[in-house]
């Protein structure tokens, strides 16, 4: 029998260690796997590379990881938000490396990692500072920039419901980066509000099929 559900957060984040590359889903705090990120804090892991659209808010979750100087590098599209002072302090002290990536390029680089694509050309960032040092190529008179895949050791994902195989459905705009990150890591860990019986999710509306999911933990929110 397949049962990907684990007992608790500690079991869900087991294996995350110093130097791991972690994909944190969410757009701001919506769709953010808050309990799993809290679990990463409790592992004590350091020297992390984190891929996340934003840089955390307040002094919880990713913001706290950064405050404790455990994130070596952040790969991110929009680090400056309404309450991102932990990141801003670390950035001003040069205590964190920032790789700024256009949001669609970040998403597509993870899709490429999940799809076995070694690189792709995009018009986004052509002719800008963010393309400096990158290979470019002209197709049909337009300049494109070569981008490489972006893969995680672990993806931390939040969904609304899962079954024991790991099929997932999401809620409204909390879907955001969750499905693409679920495809792009060696180990995909999902926190869900509710685990439902196998067969209870309508196969026509499953967004993330179970093949992408390794561990599920029920958190009730």
């Amino acid at each position: 029998m397949i049962d990907k559900q684990v007992k608790n957060i500690a079991a869900a984040v087991a294996g995350i260690k110093d130097g791991s590359t972690l994909l944190f889903a969410g757009f701001g705090s919506v769709g953010e796997p808050v309990e799993l990120i809290q679990g990463v804090l409790e592992t004590g892991a350091r020297d992390l590379t984190v891929v996340c659209n934003n840089s955390g808010t307040g002094e919880v979750g990713l913001a706290k990881l950064i405050k404790e100087r455990r994130v070596r590098k952040l790969i991110c599209s929009f680090p400056r938000t309404s309450d991102s002072h932990c990141f801003e302090e670390a950035f001003a002290e040069k205590a964190i490396e920032l790789e700024l990536v256009p949001q669609g390029t970040m998403s597509e680089r993870m899709r490429a990692a999940g799809a076995g694509i070694a690189g792709f050309y995009t018009k986004t960032s052509a002719g800008t500072k963010l393309a400096e040092g990158k290979e470019t190529r002209v197709f049909d008179g337009k300049t494109y920039v070569l981008e490489k895949p972006l893969k995680g050791d672990f993806a931390l994902v939040k969904a609304l419901k899962a079954d024991r195989w790991g099929n997932l459905v999401y809620r409204k705009s909390a879907r955001n980066f969750n499905p693409v990150m679920a495809m792009a890591a060696d180990v995909t860990v999902v926190q869900v509000k509710e685990v439902v019986p196998l067969g209870a999710l309508d196969p026509e509306i499953i967004v993330t099929p179970s093949i992408f999911v390794d561990r599920i933990v029920e958190v009730g929110t």
Binding site: F27, G28, V30, G31, S55, S77, F78, P79, R80, T81, S82, F87, E88, F91, A92, L98, L100, V101, P102, Q103, G104, T105, S107, E108, M110, R111, T122, K123, T124, S125, A126, G127, T128, K129, L130, Y170, R171, K172, S173, A174, R175, N176, F177, N178, P179, V180, V207
Partner: protein
């Protein structure tokens, strides 16, 4: 000189949006445009975080914390609207499926170069978000901005001083003083 208020600039830009258009409104001033789309037109608003058919801000008591816009403010979904994941949201942008993106800007050049992602202040981290994807991918780019900075310096320039978001993409500029088209022969006030 008579000047338009921010809401009046937004009203002016809204008058040029076609019926049936799929449109992304940038954060800040462009977001106001949704309040002024003429009643006889149906326009589908796209949000980079996975929404088509985005509606107005929710009424009191109808807020849903899982339903936000690109500026991370609470929003709503109209009948006919849909949710999808980030990769599809950006496929729509990058693949040329959006008819129009109306964006804010720090500066625009006479060639239509757009600068709206960093002012290169070393004490604050830059943020690009979806700006470069929209600038390179939407079928048409229009910009809404104040004509001059608070210090009185022009924002529409021969060359942008700030790093570009994309070269030669802006087709029309709305300011508190004028509507300006970027043409092969230069800037033309409408």
């Amino acid at each position: 000189m008579n000047q338009l208020s921010r809401r009046q600039i937004a009203w002016r830009a809204a008058q040029d949006i076609d019926n049936g258009a799929y449109v992304n409104l940038g954060i800040g001033l462009p977001t106001l445009v949704s309040d002024f789309i003429p009643k006889d037109r149906e326009v589908v608003l796209h949000s980079e975080n996975g929404i088509l058919g985005m509606g107005p801000a929710p009424k009191k008591g109808e807020e849903d914390p899982d339903l936000i816009n690109a500026g991370k403010g609470l929003t709503t979904l109209l009948p006919g609207g849909a949710y999808f994941h980030h990769n599809d949201a950006f496929l729509m942008i990058r693949g040329g499926h959006l008819d129009l993106a109306l964006l804010g800007a720090y500066e625009v050049s006479e060639k239509g170069d757009l600068a709206n992602w960093t002012v290169e202040d070393p004490s604050t981290p830059p943020g690009v978000g979806g700006a470069m994807d929209l600038a390179a991918g939407a079928r048409e780019i229009r910009v809404i901005l104040e004509h001059n900075t608070k210090e009185g310096a022009p924002r529409i320039r021969k060359q942008c001083q700030y790093p570009l978001t994309a070269p030669s993409v802006v087709k029309r500029i709305y300011t508190n003083l004028a509507v300006i088209d970027v043409t092969p022969d230069g800037l033309v006030a409408r």
